[in-house]
């Protein structure tokens, strides 16, 4: 199950950091952050609750890059 979310992030390295943070979140199988299109493509693990996983993804992203935003 893949889903695309809009994000807001200012620098390319911060986008990489968000990608790593999201990948480490429980329930996320894989994640790609497209800095140029300001998009985050998240592949969820089987049976994961998307909304609660995305809340955690957002929190983890904010921890590494306080200025970022993930639009759920």
């Amino acid at each position: 199950m893949k889903k695309t979310y809009g994000i807001e992030v200012d620098c390319a390295n911060c986008a990489n950091k968000m990608e790593n943070a999201a990948r480490k979140t429980e329930g996320v199988k894989d994640c790609t952050v497209n800095f140029m299109m300001q998009k985050m493509i998240v592949e969820f693990q089987e049976g994961a609750d998307r909304n609660s996983v995305m809340e955690n993804v957002r929190n983890n992203c904010k921890r590494v890059e306080s200025d970022c935003e993930v639009f759920i």
Binding site: D10, C11, A12, N13, N16, E19, N20, T32, N34, F35, M36, M37, Q38, K39, I41, R63, V64, S66, D67
Partner: protein, 627 residues
């Protein structure tokens, strides 16, 4: 510029003005410190705030933290040394912010440019409701709805023209500037622009399945598939910052301690200053931004030329192409077959054509279409039964009670019929009626006007080998290959043989050399998938091809193949230039900084300057017109 950027610009200008003014006004002591601090905070307060946040969250190697440490450290040194030279700290912060602003502006600008290039998304569809036109969301239009497309409007959904004649501008889709004439009964593709006449169109697809949606989806997601270079640089960035920080720490502590042990003076200020210089160079953003930006620009430029590349990784692989394998029909040749002659007919020529056309009527192969064209009348399917396709060889069917077999000589041999071989160049369709040989039909295909030129131009850009695969007869294949300058030909292949041949070719080359297969997307999806890069051409409207291929050429001009490779080579050259240039300059500055030759000024110029040059260089990938 958005609001955030404008505020940043104002902060930079105020702070810069203050610093310049302060260098002329002789203020000393505490007022001097306060004024400088004011200009420092104006330009850098958000960096300090983020740095503190980072520390609280345990994110030590954060650019903001590094910039904050470097500048605060420089201010502390200035106070300690009583030099009153705060300019350096403010300037470092100032230039850092200028760099960030430039980056954010340039990225935003090129994002906008590139998405505008691909501005084919229709905003509405005109539907006639009770005699009046209503604009509705294309998403809400069902299959089979009649929509109206006025001159100057984009065709929102794929369909068939039921009324009206016009010409279409397909340049946003194909890069082809010549308008296409369109008449009643023609298929019409979404994303093209209606130029002259009013068209009534019956939709054949939903908006989400229409060409325009597929293309937009493909282009927008292209840069999400990351290339090896991008992975390399993000891994590099992860190691680079901590490594530079640790070196800075070592630089600040080790030399003074060693010097003290040796009995000399420690010289803490000198080494701490050098360590702070290190921190200024530690931000990896210049590197990280230029690589995805180059790929994004390359993909954007290519799509504007009618070449859709599905991901940065494919762009990277494409640039290493050494072997190009072509499918013949529809790729190098027009795929428009014409019946040229009928030989050795035992019955009337018209009857032979009629039987052949009817027997082949179930097939969508170009050969069958050309037979139907030569027959010239409507096909009455009720006269045909028991159609049996013998893959790659031909077809057997019962027509008007007669058993008709038509296909190549293999089919004839298979049926125990001795065919009369033909000396003409072309595809030979032997026809047998009730097991008796009744003659053959010569059908030939025309080579595309640009095929030979395309192959020459491929050689110029370093393609080692051009191969052609075809299901066609050996004689035809060899004559075409000779005309075009193809190295190797494999003829009389069944669809499955093509995959085997491609696999053989892949096995016989080294890993660094990439193999590209070019097909027209009909029947060759497995081969498109098996090759390192599958290019489907003339794919406008063909979903299967768009799905199976890695690179999609919107029209069927073979010259687009060398163009696609040239675009990829240019893009990758820019990527490597940026990697080498950015890492090179940083390493040189680190060395000079450690030796005390480079001061903080040079460090920040190196950091911001490299980034600006790398970004400008990256944007160059967008310009592909002259390739």
């Amino acid at each position: 510029m958005n609001r955030k950027q404008r505020i940043m610009l104002i902060r930079i200008l105020i702070s810069a003005a203050m610093v310049i003014a302060l260098s002329f006004i002789p203020v000393t002591g505490l007022p001097r410190f306060v004024l400088y601090m004011l200009s420092y905070l104006i330009v850098g307060y958000d960096i300090l705030r983020k740095a503190i946040k980072g520390i609280i969250r345990g994110q030590v190697f954060d650019e903001c933290f590094l910039m904050a440490t470097a500048t605060v450290g420089a201010i502390a040194l200035a106070i300690y040394e009583r030099s009153g030279d705060y300019t350096e700290a403010v300037a470092v912060m100032l230039f850092y912010q200028i760099g960030e602003l430039f980056q954010s502006y340039a990225v935003g600008k090129s994002r906008k440019n590139i998405t505008e290039l691909m501005d084919i998304r229709p905003d509405y569809a005109n539907v006639e409701v009770n005699g009046t036109l209503e604009k509705v969301d294309p998403d809400d239009v069902g299959i089979g709805t009649i929509i109206i497309v006025q001159p100057g409007e984009k065709v929102p959904i794929d369909g068939v023209v039921i009324e009206g004649d016009s010409s279409l501008n397909t340049s946003a889709l194909t890069g082809e500037s010549l308008p296409r004439e369109i008449h009643q009964g023609d298929e019409i593709i979404s994303g093209s622009i209606n130029m002259t006449g009013l068209l009534k169109v019956r939709t054949t697809k939903e908006f989400g399945d229409s060409t325009v949606s597929k293309i937009l989806d493909l282009v927008e997601n292209a840069s999400s598939r990351k290339s090896k270079s991008e992975d390399f640089i993000s891994k590099f960035a992860r190691i680079y910052t901590p490594a530079v920080c640790l070196s800075a720490l070592a630089l600040a502590i080790l030399p003074p301690v060693v010097s003290m042990i040796m009995g000399g003076s420690a010289g803490w200020e000198v080494w701490i200053y050098r360590a702070l210089t290190f921190l200024v160079i530690s931000c990896p953003c210049a590197l990280v931004i230029s690589i995805p930006l180059s790929f994004f620009a390359g993909i954007g430029g290519a799509s504007n030329a009618g070449i859709l590349i599905k991901g940065s990784n494919y762009l990277e692989t494409l640039s290493k192409t050494k072997i190009v394998v072509f499918d013949k029909t529809g790729t190098l040749t027009q795929g428009v077959f014409e019946v040229n002659a009928i030989h050795h007919g035992t019955i009337d020529d018209e009857r032979i054509i009629e039987y052949a056309a009817l027997a082949e009527s179930a097939s969508s192969h170009p050969i069958s279409r050309s037979l139907q064209k030569a027959y010239g009348k409507a096909i009455d399917r009720s006269r045909v039964s028991h159609i049996e396709e013998i893959s790659g060889n031909g077809v057997k069917a019962i027509v008007d009670g007669h058993e008709i077999a038509c296909g190549n000589d293999k089919l004839m041999h298979l049926l125990g019929i001795e065919p009369i071989m033909c000396h003409s160049i072309g595809t030979i369709i032997h026809v047998a009626i009730d097991g008796i040989y009744s003659g053959h039909i010569v059908i030939s295909d025309v080579v595309k006007p640009h095929s030979a030129e395309a192959i020459q131009s491929l050689r110029k850009i370093g393609i080692r080998k051009a191969v052609m695969l075809t299901g066609d007869a050996k004689k035809v294949a060899e004559s075409v290959a000779e005309k075009l300058g193809i190295d190797t030909v494999y003829s009389e292949l069944l669809p499955a043989d093509k995959v085997d041949k491609v696999e053989e070719l892949i096995a016989s080359k080294s890993d660094d050399e990439k193999l590209v297969f070019v097909g027209d997307g009909i029947n060759d999806a497995p081969v498109l998938g098996r090759a390192d890069i599958g290019i489907a051409m003339g794919a406008m409207g063909s979903d299967a091809a768009i799905e199976a291929a890695d690179v999609v050429l919107m029209d069927d001009d073979p010259l687009k193949i060398p163009k696609a490779i040239k675009i990829s080579q240019k893009c990758l050259r820019i990527v490597y230039e940026n990697i080498v240039f950015a890492i090179g300059v940083k390493l040189i500055c680190l060395a000079l900084g450690a030796l005390g030759i480079a001061n903080m000024w040079l460090a920040i110029f190196a950091d911001v300057g490299v980034m600006i040059i790398a970004v400008l260089n990256a944007i160059r990938a967008l310009y592909v017109k002259s390739l």
